[in-house]
């Protein structure tokens, strides 16, 4: 989508690039004629869906964790994702190394997230949902405008790191290595996250706070501090997703709004506060947008929202949610 159309909108859905972006291998469409064309198209489409689904998971896992703990629906969450992408662009310009950006940028983003929690969100938490909505929407607004101010409205191309610029042969198809990297990298992050949540003391506290915040607080845990940490981890994940999304879908001011809506679909479908739900729903939405664009390009975007509405109507707490 051209930056001119979508830039002012905070909400826009399905930012999945059906067409391979300029930075990627142009040979992608070429198929080995000897192979069964349909089967290989399906495999490629599944891989596309997986790559986007993993990206979605990275962003929405933070959103769902923050909601689960603080009951805050953070409209600014995707803005951190966008900041990650822009920071990475800038870092690439200064340092010239993608991997340093991958290490540093998410940490910077997480720092901003922690500051936002400490100095803005915490102050209005007592005021209820409406205030938090308006606050986070205002922050999303400000971030988008600041990004436009500093980096302009034009999409900024981020080159794929040399190591991953090649392509891999998958049953007769040439598939960009970078998308496979997204897939595996996200899986590693997922495993890391699962380890923290399931095995560490912090994870146990977080899970306990998700199910009963007041009780955890009464048992002597410094819940505001844990909130801050969770916010930090959530925004770190969003920043990370932004950094790896840069070369994948290029960097532009509308990218926050596009992924935000998809993330809402993921979090709601999977169940607010449920990390497992986020995994399953990301996978679902990834495949849905990948195959939707292939089969019914015009109304593909409608199906994700329809899915969200139907799930909400039938089971408001989502597929794996417990509350509600």
């Amino acid at each position: 989508m051209a930056a001119g159309i979508g830039e002012r909108r905070i909400f826009r859905g399905c930012g999945f690039p059906a067409v391979i972006s300029a930075g990627e291998d142009r040979n992608l469409g070429e198929r080995n004629e000897s192979m069964d064309a349909l089967a290989s198209t399906i495999v490629i489409q599944i891989l596309h869906g997986l790559a986007y689904g993993m990206l979605l998971f990275l962003v929405s896992s933070g959103l769902t964790l923050v909601f689960g703990m603080m009951s805050v629906l953070n409209l600014a969450h995707a803005s951190f994702y966008m900041l990650g992408a822009y920071f990475s662009y800038q870092m690439l310009k200064w340092v010239g190394n993608f991997w340093i950006g991958l290490l540093v940028c998410p940490i910077l983003v997480a720092g901003l997230g922690i500051l936002m929690e400490r100095f803005l969100l915490r102050r209005v938490h007592a005021g209820g949902h409406v205030q938090e909505f308006v606050l986070t929407a205002g922050i999303a607004f400000v971030v988008m405008e600041t990004v436009k101010w500093i980096w302009g409205t034009e999409p900024l191309p981020v080159p794929i790191p040399a190591l991953l610029s090649g392509s891999v042969n998958i049953i007769g198809n040439v598939y960009p290595a970078y998308r496979l990297f997204i897939l595996f990298f996200s899986l590693v992050v997922l495993a890391f996250l699962a380890y923290i949540l399931m095995k560490t003391r912090l994870g146990i506290t977080v899970r306990a706070a998700v199910s009963d915040r007041d009780m955890v607080s009464a048992l002597g845990t410094n819940t505001p501090f844990v909130f801050m940490l969770v916010m930090g981890i959530g925004t770190w994940l969003a920043g990370l997703a932004g950094v790896i999304a840069g070369p994948f879908i290029s960097t532009y001011p509308g990218m926050a709004g596009e992924i935000l809506v998809d993330c809402f679909v993921v979090t709601v479908t999977g169940g607010l506060g449920s990390l497992g739900g986020a995994v399953v729903a990301s996978f679902l939405i990834g495949q849905l947008s990948s195959f939707g664009i292939l089969l019914i390009p015009r109304f593909a975007i409608v199906f994700a929202f329809l899915l969200m509405a139907v799930v909400l109507i039938i089971k408001p707490s989502g597929l794996f949610g417990e509350k509600g």
Binding site: R9, R12, G127, H129, V134, L135, G138, P316
Partner: protein
């Protein structure tokens, strides 16, 4: 309404009636826009404050009102000004009723999320259904019928018609809060369980309330279509839903005058700031954050506190 409130209402009405004589043309356009958004913001505020429902997809009713009336004027030959508006409002009310049937069973965050889902769903349909809605290109060139022989192309006439129509709708909103049903809606807001035990049909009340507000928001949308003489998907997208939330919130959602002041400030600030800086949206965003932090009850809250 107490004596003071009546006095303020009379003064405001007098200023608004005299406005075309004292203000230049471009300000007349702005105040017309403010008046239209006042009704829209009022319906949002009523939903939250009188019904306890946080709508995050309010643009649906506004946008459908705009689209339905524009399509009516475009395709039904000889459709009059008021009938077109009525058509838009009716379409919005119908959709509000259908969506409401699902919405009234939700509460809190889930209500807000479902409204968001519906908003996105309907926005996406409007956006993609190019044959009917024109998609990204929008709808324009629909006729602007005369009303009682008065040409609506005259901005002053259009201003007065808008003022009268919206004034009547605002009065209806105020009147609603005084009716028994308004009381029931408020009781549901403060304690849904108890209202249920008292024997009120909570879901039916909410549904009627929603439909009514959808109708009013539809009127605002239809007027907006005639005001702009062109509509695009921006009348129905999430940004519009956010804008109305901002308008009502800046003014103060707890007060009748809140959305009126809020939409005035919002439209005025956007116009004023955009006239001298390209970064006006940034400033607007900072204003929202400042209002949330320092005036959580909105501008009206500040005024009331000073007294």
């Amino acid at each position: 309404m107490n004596k003071k409130g009546t006095l303020i209402a009379v003064v405001v009405a007098a200023v608004l009636i005299l406005f075309p004589f004292i203000a230049p043309k471009f300000q007349l356009r702005m105040i017309t826009e403010i008046i239209i958004f006042t009704l829209f913001a009022m319906t949002w505020k009523m939903m939250l404050n009188e019904g306890g429902m946080f709508s995050f997809g309010h643009a649906v009713y506004f946008g459908l009102g705009a689209y339905a009336s524009a399509l009516g004027w475009l395709h039904i030959p000889g459709l009059s000004f008021l009938s077109g508006i009525f058509l838009g409002a009716l379409a919005a009310a119908l959709v509000a009723f259908i969506l409401g049937a699902f919405l009234v069973r939700m509460s809190g965050t889930y209500f807000a999320l479902l409204t968001l889902a519906f908003n996105q769903l309907i926005w996406a349909i409007v956006w993609k259904w190019r044959d009917v809605t024109g998609g990204d290109d929008g709808l324009g060139k629909f006729p602007k019928p005369d009303l009682f022989g008065l040409s609506m192309k005259n901005p002053v006439t259009f201003y007065y018609v808008t003022l009268i129509l919206i004034g009547a709708c605002l009065y209806a909103c105020w009147y609603f809060t005084k009716t028994p049903m308004g009381n029931v809606a408020r009781s549901i807001k403060s304690n849904e369980e108890r209202a249920k035990f008292l024997g009120f049909n909570v879901q039916a009340t909410k549904l009627i309330f929603l439909t009514l507000l959808g109708f009013l928001a539809g009127i605002a949308g239809a007027l907006y279509a005639q005001f702009q003489e062109f509509i695009a998907t921006s009348v129905i997208d999430g940004m519009m839903s956010t804008n109305v939330l901002f308008m009502a919130y800046i003014g103060g959602t707890g007060y009748f005058w809140g959305p009126i002041i809020g939409s005035g400030i919002f439209v005025y600030l956007s116009e004023y700031l955009s006239s001298f800086t390209d970064r006006w949206e940034l400033i607007l965003g900072l204003v929202f954050i400042a209002v949330v932090l320092f005036a959580p009850q909105g501008i009206m809250g500040l005024i009331q506190k000073k007294k």
